[in-house]
Amino acid sequence: MELGPEIEASLRTIDISNTLQEAKKPEEIILREVSRCGYSEDATFAIKLALEEAMTNAVKHGNGNDRTKRITVRYSISPEQAVILVRDQGEGFDPDGVPDPTEPSRLSLPSGRGIMLMRAYMTHIAFRAGGSEVCLIKRNE
């Protein structure tokens, strides 16, 4: 997915260490911007949920809970849309290879729903850099 030169130029960057506690910082900053831009309650809920899933996946799965690794969050929030990119330092993965968590045989498993929720709540989602970066886009509708 190409973001276009205007969005690329407007992206701000936050670099954090690989912990769930640190992951709260970009979430707070981005949600403040979302609030400032007047997003609807539903859109804000969606962004918070998808962003938390993306950050958790980066910490736990992408970076394997390795505290020596880092996560880079880039974002551009306008009144029209929120663009958020979360990049870990992992090997990447095949997002199409993640099993459907709604299959009857998987419904009782406690994990595997993060990507599904990101896809459900974002206007667009794309995995880049071999899966080590996720791009989340939410239009403010």
Binding site: L20, Q21, K48, L49, P101, T102, S108, S111, G114, L117
Partner: protein, 118 residues
């Protein structure tokens, strides 16, 4: 209430153990492990527990919270107990629907209604 139990408010009514979450964002990733431990302690302490989780104070939850609920449901079943959820707001309920977990859990609109189904 000790600091370790700050996330949950636990009460008992008509032999039903009612748990309410003390923080609107309580079901975020950071809090889940602590909450899970507290809930498992509750279940472990009482065979055949009738457990009601009241979500009236919950505004956000993560997929990790769903996983915690699934594990809790299994543990309650192993202890021959019953688990019900209530007062889930429409946004949170949508998460259950998207993941098809609204079919797995016994979910009621209100705690009063849930109490009648134990």
């Amino acid at each position: 209430m000790s600091e370790g139990q700050a996330h949950l408010t636990v009460s008992t009514k008509d032999e039903v153990t009612i748990v309410e979450f003390s923080d609107r964002k309580i079901l975020e990733e950071l809090s889940i492990r602590t909450i899970e431990e507290q809930l498992f302690d509750l279940v472990g302490a009482q065979t055949g527990i009738k457990l009601l989780l009241n979500f009236h104070n919950v505004e956000h939850l993560s997929s990790a919270a769903l996983g915690m609920l699934i594990n809790l449901d299994k543990q309650v079943a192993r202890q021959s107990g019953q688990l019900m959820l209530s007062d889930i707001n429409p946004q949170i309920f949508e998460v259950f629907k998207i993941t098809q977990l609204h079919r797995m859990f016994k979910i009621h609109d209100t705690a009063a209604t849930a109490m009648k189904h134990f």
